[in-house]
């Protein structure tokens, strides 16, 4: 099966948040409806970050411009890495990689340990408290399996989101970056081509990665690298300890000693001192 990918073009995005709403609607993720339930972010951004009920968030990165504010919009969601560290650390195999590159979190298997959040260089999976599971974008694998686009792509009115075979999406992303550079956006970059082994959610960053809040050259956290080092070392260590103790046991077979008394021990000590 060919690999699929989403392309988000920040230069076309109007930050209408339609994708954010549609994601919630399709995946039946509620929004906080109580008064002041969502923390005010100080901008038009709905909430400070993804949360247990929000798999996709449109971010408003603001920068002071001559006559007001200039925005760099971002689509924050799972990047569906080719080398997903979340999958590596999941203790129950709730995270898997589908043939098309989608990194799927199966919440019927998830035990809510939050290891995936800790391992993700983007801290994308979030803990869904009411259900005691982690939650993240599944690239609408249910829709894709039926030949449909992910819900966010389907709803985007500005055509800032597109979906299709990864090689085509990649080519489109590169072409768009070239267009933007020609139009004077010198810092325009494509994010996701090679990062984390290549992502299945690509990003046209009109103003450069940093302006859109993207992590340049993301790496799996050092702690995750250490986990994968500790585990085989621990296995070897346990084998060495058990082997060593087994050898010690064998060398001690047949061990016997005289029953000591205070008197015999003193006599032994005295004889030893005399020697």
């Amino acid at each position: 099966m060919a690999e699929n990918a989403i392309l988000y073009d920040a230069s076309k995005c109007s930050a209408c948040k339609g994708c954010q709403v549609q994601c919630k609607q399709w995946n039946m993720m509620p929004s906080g409806l109580g008064k002041d339930e969502n923390e005010f972010t100080g901008s038009y951004q709905s909430m400070p970050d993804l949360n247990g009920d929000t798999r996709l968030l449109i971010e408003f990165h603001e920068e002071a411009a001559g006559d007001g504010i200039q925005w760099a919009f971002s689509r924050r969601a799972c990047f569906h890495c080719t080398e997903p560290t979340c999958m590596e650390v999941c203790p129950v195999g709730a995270i898997s990689q589908l043939d098309d590159g989608t990194v799927k979190l199966d919440n019927t298997k998830c035990v809510g340990c939050k290891y995936c959040t800790a391992a993700c260089p983007f801290e994308v999976p979030k803990y869904r408290e009411n259900f005691n599971v982690s939650n993240k974008c599944t690239l609408c694998d249910d829709r894709v399996a039926q030949g449909r686009e992910p819900a966010c792509v389907k709803t985007c009115p500005a055509a800032a989101l597109s979906f299709g075979p990864r090689d085509e999406v990649l080519a489109a992303g590169k072409a768009r970056v070239e267009e933007l550079r020609t139009a004077g956006y010198d810092k325009a970059e494509l994010y996701g081509e090679t990062e984390m082994g290549g992502m299945h959610s690509l990003f046209v960053a009109q103003y450069g990665l940093e302006a859109h809040g993207l992590v340049r050259d993301p790496k799996r956290p050092d702690a995750v690298a250490l986990f994968s080092l500790i585990k085989p070392l621990a296995g070897l260590g346990v084998a060495a300890v058990v082997g060593g103790l087994g050898l010690s046991f064998l060398t001690g077979i047949g061990y016997d000693r005289d029953e000591l008394t205070a008197e015999s021990a003193s006599a032994y000590d005295a004889a030893k001192e005399e020697k």
Binding site: V92, K114, E129, T251, G252, I253, A262
Partner: protein, 223 residues
């Protein structure tokens, strides 16, 4: 008539027993989380139950020694005094000879020891340090939703390191303490029996301490 020395009180043995059960249960349940392949093999329902049990035993693991400290503060001070006692020549010699003793007990004569052997003091120190680390990081992991992913990640890594240390030390502790090692045969009775040690064993293992106890006669029992 054999002479025995009462080495451990009932309270100490009960706390040690409860702590042992909790520790072994934590190692077993922790292994399922530590090795993803095991967790995947048993399935998420089992892992979820194991995680809950892990927390129950963690509470026992942390509270048992704390309870002991509260109920018997003098005993705790006594343990600490032994723990921090300066090492004399016999203590140092014991540690130098111990590797040889472990692999040729029939040909190695060990020096007399005080109430707690120098080797055990060293192992106890590592075990206490690893246990404190595993307890603190465990609480942080339990409170995972209130800490940042970075703190969670660091706590998880330290928890894993402490887990490995505790597992190693426990392997050696059980080998010696349960008397699997021939010269230590019968020592399981000290913590999992009546807490008494025979005169012969006391003189062999803790010569200096046995001399003092037999001289004072305070804890000497004849049976």
């Amino acid at each position: 008539m054999t002479r025995y020395i009462q080495r451990h009180s009932l309270l100490k043995r009960v706390i040690h027993g409860v702590h042992t059960v909790a520790c072994l249960a934590l190692i077993a349940s922790g292994t399922i989380l530590f090795v993803p392949a095991l967790g995947r093999a048993v399935g998420s329902d089992v892992v979820q139950s194991v995680r809950m049990l892990h927390r129950v035993f963690a509470v026992v693991f942390i509270s048992a020694p704390l309870l002991g400290m509260i109920v018997a503060p003098k005993g705790f001070v006594h343990i600490m005094k032994n723990f921090f006692a300066p090492w004399d020549a016999d203590d140092k010699k014991f540690m130098m000879l111990f590797p040889k003793y472990l692999f040729s007990p029939k040909k190695t004569h060990m020096p007399k020891q005080h109430e707690v052997k120098s080797g055990q003091r060293l192992a106890d120190g590592m075990l206490i340090a690893a246990s404190v680390l595993i307890a603190i990081t465990g609480v942080i992991l339990w409170a995972g939703r209130f800490v940042s992913p970075e703190v969670f990640r660091t706590a998880l890594m330290l928890h894993d390191v402490a887990f490995v240390l505790v597992t190693f030390i426990m392997c050696a502790h059980i080998y010696l303490g349960a008397g699997v090692f021939q010269p230590y045969r019968g020592s399981v009775r000290l913590m999992f029996g009546d807490g008494r040690v025979s005169e012969a064993d006391a003189l062999y293992h803790w010569g200096h301490w046995a001399d003092e106890e037999l001289a004072s006669g305070e804890n000497v029992v004849e049976a």
